[in-house]
């Protein structure tokens, strides 16, 4: 499959690509010169066989001291043929890359992010400003010479305070300046109870209708990608649950899959099933927080109390299996940290038996509730083509009629052995997203029960690869032999040494396609980790969704996007 695709890619690009090769997972990569990038992207999008209608992310890699110094990275996907392609574009320091934001609207924010963190300018970009850091920030953090501990230069952020009022559009032209009394600019956030964290929106209003919405991000920028280059492969697992903190185990899983692709290993079957079980439970807790907060924003307080009570049951299972309520770091390279406790299946079954009834309560509170329907139906609607162009994934894309789920179309972690349905709605509005997520919770419960049956058929204790180059030695092994003691010592001091190469690990997380693009130079630390967070991409469609709606609808739309700012800002 991958060889055919590689050949097809070389044929389609012809002279545009200077080199094509397969990465660690066998996915095709083409190296393209900056001058022919735009043409190449257009060809890949319109080619009948490749049909890359979806741009996953745009990023870069600093390869200092190589000349040219940077590689622009473009990850493409076909939602009809279900294959991945990657473009690498070498570019010198200070030289610009052509923008592809006219082909894929996903590129808009991604190019701004790359400009912010690497300092690569994009020629022809409509609005090239910093996106995560403040406008007067010194330097570009993801360049290799930038010290990750460097504290910013004061005075910093005075512009943040100034911008909070009228100047909030930050260099943006107003639509209509003829009558200054007609349009006002309203600042919303970063401290606002309904923005789900520290999102800030500048809303230009005509009466109460929204003429223009400009999101401002970065109020929770943590520098996780930079920190990933500092810590070793195993230590990095700790950062990622704190990124999308509503679905911690999903993040760990995506990263581990990426690293395992680089290592070229398969994890034991039991570990795969446990991973499936935990990621489905994670999907449920994420959706429960979404449902509770979304309903509360729209005015239904009761739902919040019900869903948080239900969520506690799964958090108890988290404690049982991983020792912590949220940030368990349970998924490890090569498997999962500990075997499932004996009473764990009983706990899951007890929850699963009760869960259908709970869902019935939520449906009873909302689905036919006239206020809920009026607040959500026809609000924030987005059609199929626009949502693909914006790179929407997960429940948002499925609510707009895109029948695409990575669990089914590009199965990972033995998802191909499970039976489940994928809910698809056609309207693309807030209500459809609600229906899709509600059905996903039913399916998640179904998959969790299947996973329990499959786990029961596997040998207990086989939750981790017995390869001590990548997995820790069990406690009793350390006492038994000197070799294993050496392995233990090497593992915890040196970490895992990952062969040089690049890979893209992806999963269908609760919010959409969550991907980790990892590059190794053969050492104990990653050369580059790019996190493709679904929230970041989904949020970029917000201005389009709220256009012409009322301020109250903005709240409903933000809730339906299910945005987690930890993942948006990283």
């Amino acid at each position: 499959m991958s060889e055919v695709l590689l050949q097809r890619l070389a044929e389609a690009l012809g002279g545009l690509a200077s080199r094509t090769y397969a990465d660690a997972a066998g996915e095709p990569v083409a190296v393209v010169e900056p001058a022919s990038l735009h043409q190449a992207a257009l060809k890949l999008r319109d080619d009948a066989e490749l049909a890359c209608d979806y741009l996953s992310f745009v990023s870069a890699q600093d390869l200092m001291p190589r000349f040219p110094r940077f590689d622009g990275v473009y990850q493409l996907y076909s939602t009809s043929k279900h294959h991945w392609l990657r473009l690498r574009v070498p570019v010198e320091d200070g030289k610009a890359l052509p923008t592809v934001s006219d082909l894929y609207r996903t590129a808009d924010w991604h190019e701004r992010e790359t400009y912010d963190l690497f300092g690569i300018p994009y020629e022809g970009h409509p609005d090239l400003r910093r996106i995560l850091l403040t406008d007067n920030w010194h330097g570009h953090p993801l360049r290799k010479e930038y010290d990750h501990r460097l504290e910013p230069v004061w005075p910093l952020g005075t512009d943040v305070l100034q911008n909070l009022a009228e100047g909030a559009m930050a260099g943006q032209e107003r639509e209509d300046t003829s009558d200054p009394t007609r349009r006002i600019v309203l600042n919303m956030g970063p401290q606002h109870p309904a923005t789900h964290g520290v999102l800030r929106l500048a809303l230009e209003l005509d009466g109460e209708n929204i003429v223009k919405c400009v999101p401002h991000l970065g109020y929770l920028h943590t520098g996780i990608e930079k920190l990933s280059e500092v810590h070793n492969w195993t230590q990095n697992i700790t950062h990622y649950p704190r990124m999308d903190y509503l679905s911690p185990m999903n993040n760990e899983l995506a990263y581990c899959l990426a690293v395992e692709k680089l290592l070229g290993v398969e994890v034991p079957l039991r570990a795969q099933y446990v991973r499936v079980l935990m990621s489905e439970l994670t999907r449920v807790i994420s959706h429960l927080v979404w449902l509770g907060t979304h309903a509360m924003d729209v005015g239904a307080m009761t739902v919040f109390l019900y869903t948080f009570a239900e969520r506690e049951k799964i958090l108890e299972m988290y404690e049982l299996i991983g020792g912590q309520r949220m940030m368990t770091s349970y998924m490890r390279i090569g498997g999962v940290k500990d075997d499932m406790p004996e009473d764990f299946p009983k706990a899951v079954r007890a929850w699963a038996n009760d869960f259908a009834k709970q869902l019935g309560i939520y449906h009873g509170l909302l689905t036919k509730n006239p206020i809920w329907r009026q607040r959500t139906m026809g609000i924030g609607a987005m059609d199929r083509e626009t949502s693909l162009s914006y790179g929407l994934s997960g429940p948002l894309a499925r609510a707009a009629g895109v029948d695409w789920d990575l669990r089914r179309d590009n199965p990972y972690s033995s998802y191909e052995e499970f039976e489940f349905d994928i809910p698809v709605e056609q309207d693309g509005d807030v209500y459809s997203r609600y229906l899709v997520r509600m059905e996903e919770m039913v399916q998640a419960q179904r998959i969790a029960l299947q996973a329990l049956d499959k786990i029961a058929q596997t040998e207990p204790g086989t939750h981790m690869r017995e390869d001590y180059k990548m997995a820790p030695v069990p406690r009793n092994g350390i006492n038994a032999s000197i070799e294993e003691l050496i392995h233990h010592f090497k593992y915890w001091t040196d970490g895992v040494w990952v062969p040089a190469g690049e890979a893209y690990g992806f999963i269908e997380a609760s919010k959409g396609e969550l991907g980790f693009f990892v590059v190794s130079d053969g050492g104990a630390r990653p050369q580059r980790v790019k996190i493709r967070g679904p929230s970041f991409v989904n949020l970029s469609a917000l201005p389009e969704m709220v256009q012409g709606h009322l301020i109250a609808d903005v709240i409903a739309v933000i809730g339906s996007i299910d945005v987690v700012l930890g993942e948006v800002d990283r």
């Binding site: 501990r149 401290q191 109870p193 929770l220 920028h221 704190r242 903190y245 907060t293 940030m327």
Partner: protein, 181 residues
Amino acid sequence: MVGRQLGEARNTSFPDSGRSLPGESGILVTTINKVLGWFQANSIWPLTSGLACCAIEMMSASASRFDIARFGSEVFRASPRQSDLLIISGRLSWKMAPVLRELYDQMPFPKWVISMGACASCGGLFTTYAIVHGADHIVPVDIYIPGCPPRPEALLDALVKLQKKIKTGTYVSPTLKERRR
């Protein structure tokens, strides 16, 4: 009650009608500080300001299972001008820091700050360029909670300790007292 005059009923229950036993007179002697402390400690209104992961545990603390209402703090206010307590729940970035300071300045006196979790207290695991390594660089902090994220019980414990601090003017933990001896 039928036929009785309104004035009669009031006269019989009037405190100074010849009896003067302590407690029955309806008068209690105390200091203004104690009474104010008692008022303030039992109705702390926190600001709804979530930053990161800890905000989710803060929400859990206010929801059904942990029920922060038992300690009189269920009234989360969205406006800083109506709240007494700022819970810094999560990592604080340099970009957010001026905004947080602005929020703190907008809160009316008396006001208190809880720094929730490792990131807010010292930057935690994120030793990066983007994060303020300790929210006490930006605002004065009364109580620090360890944990990543702290359990909701830990937040409730911090709240109880804050109440003690407010009631007595100062709170020193028992272990610290022993060490001082």
